[in-house]
Symmetry: C2
Subunit: 368 residues, 2 copies
C-alpha cells in the first residue's frame, strides 16, 4: 500500500513557472517582473504575456532567493534592552513607532530583537547579523562600554541615545542637558526655589546630562545646590516611587520641596502616586516636572509638564541614516555625515506645575 499522500499546500509559483506559462525563459520573466534595469529591453507584447501569467499564477518573488544574490534583505533590525522588568517601556514604544513608520516608507521590513542585558547578551548581536538584516539600530541608552566593543563588523549600525560613543557608529540623540536646564528654569520662573531632582541611573549619559542641566539652571540664578534635595534613583518608575517615598519618610516634619524635577515621565508618575498617597495635591501643594513626553505624560491626572524629546522623529532619522550607510557600504565612509546627530527638545507646560503655595507645606507622616 502506498503511503497516504498528504494534502500538500501547493508550492508558490516561481519564475520558471511564470516563464513556462508565458512561453518564455525564466530570466525574461525576471527582467519584467523584478528587474529594474533591464525590463525596458523586453518587447511590449512578451512583456504583457509575462505580466498576465504572473497575475494568474499569483507570482511573488521569493525574498530569500533575491536576498541571497543581491546581498540585501531589505529589512532593518532594531535591538532594544528590556531591563529588569522584561518589558518594552513607553520610551521604546515611541522610538519604535517612528522606526516602523520610516521603514514602511522606505519599503523595508523591520525585525525586532530584544536583549535583557547588554553585557550579558551582546554576543547575541552577532547571530542576528547573518544576512537576515541589512543593518541594525541599537536603542542604546543602557549600552555598556564593553558591549560596544563587541559589535559585528559586517553589518552597519546606527545608535539611538547611545550611552557610549561607538567607533564608526552614528549616534542619534537629543539635547537633554538643555532640556533639563529649561525645565528647571521654568520651575524657577513660576516661583519655585526648593527644587528636588529625582535622577535616572547614575552613570548613564542620559541621567548625567539631566543632572548637569539641573545644576546649571540652579547656578544660573544663584540657588545653591542642596544635597538633600538630590535624590538618586533609576529610570524605572518603581524605583522613582520608592526613592521619593523613602525621602518623605526620612524627612517627615521638615519643609516639603516646592517642586520635583523627575528624570523621566515614569519617575514622575511614581512620584504622583506617592504624593497622592501622602495626601498632597499636585500642583497645589507641590509641582512636578517630567522628561520625554511619552504616553504617560498625558494619562496622569494632572497631566505632566515635561520636556519633549521628538522620539518618533529620532527613530525615523535613525532609519534614514542607517539606510544611507547600507547603500554606501563599500563607498565613501560615513565620516562625512554629522555625528552625533542632536535633536532639539522642547518644554511642554501642562497642569502639574503651578506657582508654589503661599505657605510652605510640611512633609506629612506616611504610613510605613
Amino acid at each position: 500500500m502506498p503511503p497516504a499522500i498528504s494534502p500538500k499546500v501547493p508550492r508558490a509559483a516561481t519564475l520558471v513557472d511564470v516563464g513556462r506559462a508565458a512561453g518564455v525563459s525564466a530570466m525574461a520573466a525576471s527582467a519584467v517582473l523584478n528587474g529594474a534595469r533591464t525590463s525596458s529591453r523586453i518587447a511590449e507584447d512578451t512583456r504583457k504575456r509575462i505580466l498576465e501569467a504572473a497575475a494568474t499564477l499569483r507570482y511573488r518573488p521569493n525574498a530569500t532567493a533575491r536576498a541571497l544574490v543581491n546581498r540585501r534583505m531589505n529589512t532593518i533590525g532594531v535591538a532594544a534592552a528590556l531591563g529588569e522588568e522584561s518589558e518594552l517601556n513607553s520610551y521604546a514604544l515611541e522610538v519604535i513607532t517612528g522606526i516602523l513608520a520610516a521603514s514602511a516608507t522606505h519599503r523595508q521590513s523591520t525585525t525586532m530583537f530584544t536583549l535583557h542585558d547588554w553585557d550579558r547578551d551582546a554576543t547575541r548581536l552577532h547571530s542576528w547579523c547573518d544576512g537576515r538584516i541589512d543593518g541594525l539600530i541599537l536603542i542604546a541608552p543602557m549600552l555598556s562600554k564593553e558591549a560596544g566593543k563587541l559589535l559585528p563588523v559586517h553589518t552597519p549600525f546606527v545608535a539611538l541615545h547611545a550611552n557610549h560613543q561607538l567607533p564608526n557608529v552614528v549616534n542619534v540623540e537629543s539635547d537633554e542637558e538643555h532640556g533639563a536646564y529649561e525645565m528647571v528654569r521654568f520651575l524657577i520662573a513660576q516661583g519655585h526655589r526648593r527644587i528636588m531632582h529625582v535622577t535616572g541611573d547614575r552613570g548613564l549619559t542620559g541621567a548625567e546630562r539631566r543632572i548637569a542641566g539641573y545644576k546649571r539652571a540652579l547656578a544660573s540664578v544663584g540657588i545653591p545646590f542642596a544635597k538633600n534635595l538630590f535624590v538618586p534613583a533609576t529610570f524605572a518608575s518603581a524605583d522613582g516611587r520608592a526613592a521619593l517615598r523613602a525621602w518623605l519618610l526620612k524627612h517627615a516634619g521638615e519643609p516639603l520641596p516646592d517642586a520635583i524635577f523627575c528624570a523621566n515621565d515614569g519617575i514622575a508618575t511614581g512620584c504622583l502616586e506617592v504624593l497622592a498617597e501622602a495626601g498632597l495635591r499636585v500642583p497645589d501643594d507641590i509641582s512636578i516636572g517630567g522628561f520625554d513626553d511619552t504616553l504617560a505624560a498625558r494619562t496622569t491626572v494632572p497631566q505632566l509638564t515635561t520636556v519633549r524629546q521628538p522620539l518618533r522623529e529620532m527613530g525615523r532619522r535613525a532609519v534614514e541614516v542607517l539606510l544611507g550607510k547600507i547603500e554606501h557600504q563599500n563607498g565613501a565612509d560615513a565620516s562625512a555625515s554629522e555625528n552625533p546627530i542632536v535633536f532639539p527638545v522642547e518644554l511642554v507646560p501642562r497642569a502639574s506645575v503651578s506657582a508654589p503655595p503661599v505657605v510652605s507645606r510640611i512633609v506629612p507622616k506616611l504610613r510605613q
Copy 2:
C-alpha cells in the same frame, strides 16, 4: 591610472572558506557546523579542525541561503493596524512584548508589519508572505470581514482578538463578556446603582461583548438598562474623553452617575481627564473602571480598577500555536487544536473605585 580601490568590507566567511581552512570539503563543514542530523558521522579530529577554522574565520551560516533551501526563515511576522493616530497603543505594546518573548524562546526572529486600515491595506499582507516570514500573527481586533477573505494561502496564520472568525485560522481571545460582567457586578457590590458605560467601537466584537456583560450584570440584580447612561464611543482615548465631555455638557444640573465602566483603559484615562477638568474627584465623587490592564492603568493617578486580560500570555500562546502550524504545514491539519482559544480574565481592584458618595453629586457646569 587604475581606479582607486575602495576599502571594501571583507566578505563574511562561507562554508567553503571554512572547509578550505580545515582541509576538508564544504559539506563536511556544513555537517558539523549547521547540520543537526549528520554531524555525528564526522570523525572527532576533523570535527575539531572544522570547529577551529570556523572560530578563527568567525563563520556565521548565512540565513538567506539556509532559508532558500530549508524553506524556513525562522522568523514570524506580526501585523497590527495602527488606526487613526498612526501609533502603536498600549494594548499592542503588551501583546507584542509577549510575542517577542516567546519568539526569542523559540529562537525565532520577529518582524513587525503595520497597516493603517485592514480594508485598504489587506492586499499588502501578500507582499510580506514571500519567504521572509514563516507565518504571521494578526493582531486583529479591527479586522473587517472583507479583509479576512484576502489572506494569502501559502502562509500559516494565527489571529489575536479577531473581529471575525477567519476560516482555518486559530483565534486567541479572552472572555471579555465575563470580564465586563465581573466589573459591573463589582461596582454594584460597592453600592453603585447608576452605572454608565462608555463603549468601544460599535460593531467590533470586543466592544459588543463588553456591552453584553454590562447588560447582563445589570439585569442580574434587577437594575433596568438606562439608555441615557449608555454612551457610545470608540476605543480611542480621545473619543472616550469627547463622549463623556459631551454627555456632561448635555446633562449639567442632573444627577451624576455613581460610576463609569469604560470599555478600555484608554477611555478610562480620557474620562479621568474630563472629570479632573470638571472638578470632580475620583473615586470620592465618582468611580471609574477600565478594561485590559495595560500600562495606562498603572500610570494614571488614581490607578485604575480594571479587568486584566493576560495580553502577554496571549501573545505568547499565539506564537506557540503558529509555530505548531508552521511545523505541521503539510501534515495533520490544525483542526485538532481548539479554536478559539479563550483566556480567562481577572478583575483588578485599584484606587479608582470606592463606595459612592453618601449624597449624590450633580453634574457641574463645564466650560465649553
